[in-house]
């Protein structure tokens, strides 16, 4: 028995997604896999640790997160506790770019910070930093990061975006 997607494309019995347009075909709603922010491995929903690299995965519900922050040299601190994924950069209203962590007020443009410079992601108790093809690069403890390659952060790590230095702190 063929299955039709809502756009009318015919698919074989047993298919989950339409081969023509990609629409999900009728069936049970399935909880999405929990993708590890560090290595990209999909894991069963609710898994506590990544089956490939072993890092802690974000809990599916509840659980108080540890307080984590990024601190500028002048002591200004950005709280990361409630965030899953944030872009660090500098706002540019003309281009309608408003990153969650905005370094424009701290000389971002002059210091070589791109509008969307790097992404910080949380996976459970772990954070990763990923350069977003920034012009002046992202450095972790003075090592240049390859673009689009999430790299784990630990307490006390130094991040440099352009010429702005931030310290990652977690309790």
């Amino acid at each position: 028995m063929a299955i039709r997607c809502r756009n009318g494309h015919e698919n074989m019995d047993g298919a989950f997604f339409c081969e023509q347009c990609g629409e999900a075909l009728d069936g049970d709603t399935v909880q999405a896999a929990s993708v590890c922010a560090v290595c990209g491995q999909p894991n069963a929903p609710g898994a506590e640790a990544c089956a490939n690299c072993g890092v802690a995965l974000a809990p599916s519900s509840g659980g108080a997160a540890r307080a984590s922050r990024l601190v500028l040299a002048n002591g200004v601190s950005f709280d990361l506790s409630e965030l899953e994924s944030v872009v660090i950069g500098r706002s540019d209203p003309a281009a309608e770019v408003f990153p969650e962590i905005d370094l424009a007020p701290y000389g971002g443009e002059k210091e070589g910070v791109s509008r969307q410079h790097a992404r910080l992601q949380r996976s459970g108790e772990r954070f990763t930093i990923e350069d977003l093809h920034s012009v002046n690069h992202t450095y972790l403890n003075k090592q240049q990061l390859k673009a689009e390659t999430p790299t784990p952060l630990k307490n006390g790590d130094e991040l440099r975006l352009g010429r702005i230095i931030l310290r990652f702190e977690t309790d």
């Binding site: 028995m1 756009n7 074989m12 019995d13 047993g14 298919a15 989950f16 997604f17 339409c18 081969e19 023509q20 347009c21 990609g22 629409e23 999900a24 049970d28 399935v30 909880q31 999405a32 896999a33 993708v35 560090v38 290595c39 990209g40 491995q41 999909p42 894991n43 069963a44 929903p45 490939n52 690299c53 890092v55 093809h133 012009v135 690069h137 240049q144 990061l145 390859k146 673009a147 689009e148 390659t149 999430p150 790299t151 784990p152 630990k154």
Partner: protein, 406 residues
């Protein structure tokens, strides 16, 4: 018998499969991972050929950054490793013949002397690179060509022939494309034919160094060279499509027969699995539990412990009350492989009608990818850079990353 050094596992997207009385499609995920013993084992020394484009378009920052990146890479090789450096335009220059990396300074000085030149005949560079690699290729080294290009080339057919030869000899080609003008279809074919990773897209010259360092890190992580999976299916079960889904996404073209699949997976790294998604056509079955396939792994080096067998056993149920168990990990791959096929179809056929690409597909991509998909949906052509971006994002839909050293 030695301890198995590879673990093979498989799971269907849902189980039990229903008894429908008709043909149905089923999705099977097969994963191969290195055992803990292998992860801690000794690595093979490297036999690398760096084949780089020095055509006129490389003039300026591209060649400057590339030279600096090569010198940085040389510093991360040891005297156990072999390196050759070849520069091509419409001629070819042997910058450094294949030799152990004992004198980084002299190698660096040779790199400094590379000058930009004329047109582009990549096959000349590949051919000389292959000749240098052959001097040490074999079970004692991990042999790889790092192929760098920033534009279209003459002699594409010859490049593909050389890639096939390299693959047959256990030499994989890892392409790096710089800027927006390189031939992504040709470089993808070269890597696929030779058993290499998909091309690394370097958008700005300053990222070349990170890309080359990644190549060294990836080569150092290999624990099983030349891994092959052979799968045989029982009557009534036919592989329809096979796609590599980890560590990168790539359809498998060759080796799929009516009742058997052979996939050359290339090198298995200690911290990344190799995974395949198989789409199987299953003829009507009665209820019960059956073995539908047998999987066997082997390695080109004949490494003891890499010959591992696993059965794929599936339950069919006629009971309407027995709800199938859905496997989100397999469905994750099913959705992304289907999305990649739809996007690639739209990219490959610019004459096609504006494709009805479901919004759910666009949601699998980042903002940049979504922007390109919107252009496709509107029936407009993509810019060369837009195509590169969307192809790279599509390849990355299921790709995995090595855990960075802490």
């Amino acid at each position: 018998m030695s301890l198995p050094l590879i673990a093979i596992t498989s799971q269907l997207a849902r189980e039990p499969l229903p008894v429908t009385g008709e043909q149905q499609v089923a999705f099977l995920l097969v994963e191969a991972r290195a055992s803990e013993a292998l992860a801690a084992g000794v690595r093979l020394p490297l036999n690398l050929a760096l084949v780089l484009d020095r055509s006129g378009s490389m003039r300026g920052p591209r060649l400057q950054h590339l030279k600096a990146a090569i010198k940085q890479m040389i510093d991360h090789l040891t005297s156990d490793d072999i390196l050759s450096i070849i520069a091509y335009d419409d001629t070819v220059q042997l910058v450094a013949p294949a030799a152990p990396v004992t004198d980084p300074e002299t190698l660096g000085a040779a790199v400094d002397l590379i000058e930009h030149g004329g047109g582009t005949a990549m096959a000349l560079g590949m051919s000389l690179g292959l000749a240098e690699l052959r001097q040490h290729a074999g079970p004692n080294y991990l042999s790889r060509m790092i192929l760098i290009s920033d534009g279209a080339t003459e002699g594409a057919d010859q490049c593909l022939t050389l890639a096939e030869e390299a693959g047959a000899e256990g030499i994989s080609i890892m392409p790096i494309g710089i800027g927006a003008e390189w031939d992504d279809i040709l470089l993808e074919q070269i890597s696929a034919l030779s058993g290499g990773d998909p091309p690394d897209y370097v958008r700005v010259p300053a990222d070349i160094s990170a890309s080359l360092m990644h190549q060294v890190q990836a080569a150092r992580a290999v624990v099983v060279p030349g891994l092959t999976l052979d799968m045989r299916f029982v009557a009534g079960v036919t592989p329809r499509r096979v796609t590599r889904v980890a560590p990168f996404l790539r359809p498998v073209d060759g080796g799929v027969e009516e009742r058997a699949v052979t996939v050359r997976l290339g090198h298995l790294e200690h911290d990344l699995p190799q995974a395949l998604l198989l789409e199987l056509l299953i003829e009507p079955k009665r209820g019960g539990t059956f073995r539908i396939a047998q999987i066997e792994s082997s390695s080109s080096g004949g490494l003891e412990g890499t010959l591992v067998r696993a059965d794929v056993v599936v339950t069919f149920s006629a009971s309407a009350s027995k709800r199938p168990q859905m496997r989100p990990v397999v469905l994750h791959y099913v959705e992304r492989v289907n999305a990649a096929r739809i996007i690639n179809r739209a990219l490959d056929d610019p004459q096609a009608e504006p494709t009805a690409i479901a919004p759910a597909i666009a949601n699998l991509f980042d903002a940049e990818g979504r922007e390109q998909i919107e252009i496709l949906r509107a029936g407009h052509p993509l810019s060369p850079e837009g195509r590169k971006v969307l192809r790279a994002r599509t390849r990355a839909l299921t790709s995995m990353r090595r855990k960075a050293a802490e």
